[in-house]
Symmetry: C2
């Protein structure tokens, strides 16, 4: 984990860009975190392009830091600054064409778009966890928040270090994700925008039902794909406070 | 509104039993409420029998009082101490028979069980609101919480004084309630127990979808019919704090 720049956000949060091999990423630590009081950490998922997403990711990191949590994100496989994934780009073009033509999005296109990302991103998140948990000021437990739901579900299914996950049911779901979902047993907080036109609501409900966790919450709100109300962010924050603070 | 007894719960909450005509009820006011600082009030719904439900109702009232809200409940039509509703009792017996025989519960039975309660309970809640809002220490706005969802939905549809409602999707829903639902426009917080064996999940989702409010949240949790997790109560409390505190 090679740090390439350090910045201070309002004195409360240290923002450090890093690379891990060829993966660019950003780590945010509350200025209170130290070897004596290491911070739990939340991994921040996103739809790709951490440069473009930076303002929103930094806002989520600040909110995490206010609760005493570090936060971290890495670029998606095939994202800006990384080796392009030709097959994924082709699937994305096919998806765009289908949406523009008003044609149904076939499972085949979703599999070709999402599964290569899942296959590559999950070991990258695991390598990043390994690296960040070796830092003195980071102590775990680890949470995962948002991003491509198929990646989050696979990671939660295979890696016991992830102890709680807040999922956003707003992206395409390959059939294989339903199988992964049954293997997940950690506490989950699933956010769904009920009137999200670009989302298949029934598929999101089926995925929630398939998740194996005994402790899972579905929170559905109005406001369309991007209109998540502020109180939904607050309830996700309380979810992590319940599950990542060892003393509570 | 004739008060028949007064009790103090820990010095923080005044509990007063009352009758309004032939309707028995209970009013809880935070000891801080006065003519100078009148309290908003939450109407507490329940499945019937306020004597048996008293411990749970008093716990909800204490929690409301901690947030500065008064709380009130009245006995259901046909409930203990009230004129029996022979047709409703007959429908309840038919329902019990169907459930014990493992037969499907027909819409006809649900209509005969629930609609007479809706027809009678809604004007009774309205008369009670009228009476309680005339007290110096109660100032509104009014919230409604839980109980028979068909009653809550009809009341919210017809009475503008109810400004926010937390509904529990755990009781039978007559078809007419879907029509009432479309008329509701106030902020809503709907609680669903996802793995409630006695509940028709699809019907609950259909009802949530039918509600006309632009600001509505569905929160689904695990734990069966009676296993509502503590954090669900907290999120309902925050919902009322957002909508009933005039200054927020």
């Amino acid at each position: 984990m090679d740090f390439t720049s350090t910045d201070s956000l309002d004195g409360d949060v240290i923002e450090r860009a890093f690379t891990l091999g060829d993966i660019p990423g950003i780590l945010w630590t509350p200025s209170t975190a130290s070897a004596d009081t290491p911070a739990p950490i939340i991994l921040l998922g996103h739809p790709g392009d951490i440069g473009r997403m930076h303002p929103r990711l930094a806002a989520r990191a600040r909110s995490a830091a206010a609760d005493g949590f570090a936060a971290l994100t890495i670029e998606l496989p095939g994202g800006p600054g990384r080796t392009p994934l030709v097959e994924v780009e082709r699937a994305r073009a096919d998806l765009r064409r289908a949406l523009q033509a008003g044609e149904p999005v076939t499972p085949d296109v979703i599999d070709r778009l999402i599964l290569p990302l899942v296959e590559r991103a999950v070991p990258e998140w695991q390598a990043t966890m390994e690296a960040v948990l070796s830092l003195d000021e980071i102590g775990g437990p680890v949470g995962f928040s948002g991003g491509v739901i198929a990646i989050a579900v696979r990671l939660a299914a295979v890696d016991q270090r992830v102890r709680a996950a807040a999922l956003f049911a707003g992206s395409f779901v390959p059939t294989a994700t339903l199988t992964d979902a049954a293997q997940v047993t950690i506490p989950l907080h699933v956010l769904l925008q009920w009137d999200d036109e670009g989302n298949d609501r029934q598929q999101a409900l089926d995925l929630f039902d398939a998740l194996g966790s005994a402790d899972k919450t579905l929170e559905a709100n109005m406001g369309g794909h991007t209109g998540v109300p502020p109180h939904a962010g607050e309830s996700a924050a309380r979810f992590f406070a319940r599950h990542l603070r060892a003393t509570e």
